[in-house]
Symmetry: none
Subunit: 175 residues, 2 copies
């Protein structure tokens, strides 16, 4: 496949929009992380950058960000598992609360139950048959939530662009 080839897009110097680590870079970074290095100092970042630049274009900020996020997401995974256990405990007979603690939506990977709060949002998209298992996934959920609520967005430019610049009007248009 083109997997390996695509990863070399940044290394080719074409001016890719963001750093795309090569497998070797990822291996080395993960090795260091597992070795105990969680928050490298500036000196360490410089040395790591110099070493990894042999395998592709890389900058110090990439190394810095990588460790920041890797550490953050490591904690996130633990949190998710704890949350999943807590969700599971809700259905135990000894725990009879019906209110959700702090999590407004379903966990990643959780199936949509018939009584789930996701159901209403899923219906906004007229999802009937293709709702297989993970409709409440993060990326998709963002769109669904924007759909059902007021679509204020911090990133989307507020320019009023025309939806249909060209209207071919195929055949049967009674509008």
């Amino acid at each position: 496949m083109e997997t390996v080839v695509a990863r070399l897009s940044n290394g080719g110097g074409g001016g890719g929009s963001r750093w795309c680590p090569t497998p070797e870079q990822v291996m080395l970074l993960e090795g260091m992380y597992r070795g105990g290095l969680k928050t490298p100092t500036a000196t360490q970042i410089q040395q790591i950058t110099a070493r990894l630049s042999l395998y592709g274009r890389i900058q110090g900020k990439n190394v810095f960000y990588w460790f920041q996020n890797h550490k953050a997401r490591d904690r996130q995974k633990i949190r998710k598992k704890l949350m999943a256990m807590y969700q599971h405990q809700r259905f135990l007979p000894s725990y009879n609360s019906t209110c959700y603690p702090t999590f407004p939506i379903q966990v990643v990977g959780a199936k949509i139950e018939e009584n789930s709060s996701c159901k209403s949002m899923v219906n906004e998209w007229n999802v009937d048959q293709s709702c297989k298992k993970v409709m409440c996934e993060c990326s998709f959920m963002t769109v669904m939530m924007m759909e059902s609520t007021s679509p204020y967005s911090t990133r989307v430019p507020p320019k009023t662009l025309q939806l249909f610049p060209t209207t071919p009007a195929p055949t049967s248009t009674s509008s």
Copy 2:
């Protein structure tokens, strides 16, 4: 080439597993894309869906995915072409396990002062699309100051560069 029957598989409500756009829908979507609409908002997706539903069964998520994929594959084509021109050097050396430590080394002492004059150093980064204004954070400065030279492998000294020397980091000399 008679595929009319096949295209009607989802429009007729047969319950196809995935959306199969009609030629009219594709025409309209491509027209919008060429017109400059690359990342529609939720509201736009809703309107587009309503408009395109005249030509066949369609859902908001289909429109959302279409733009995501179309944009991504546009970039992919460009990347491949640029890469084809540039892919000539630098094969990846084999992985060597001596590159990273096997026990945690947390070098302390590479602290940095909250000096000012951030703006001049911001330019030392290849600030293109990211790192807009929060660059003047203390932690960032440590990385920024070390990124002054070219990050590409042409400058990297080929000598044996140990990532984590046993000697303490000499960055504390600034005090």
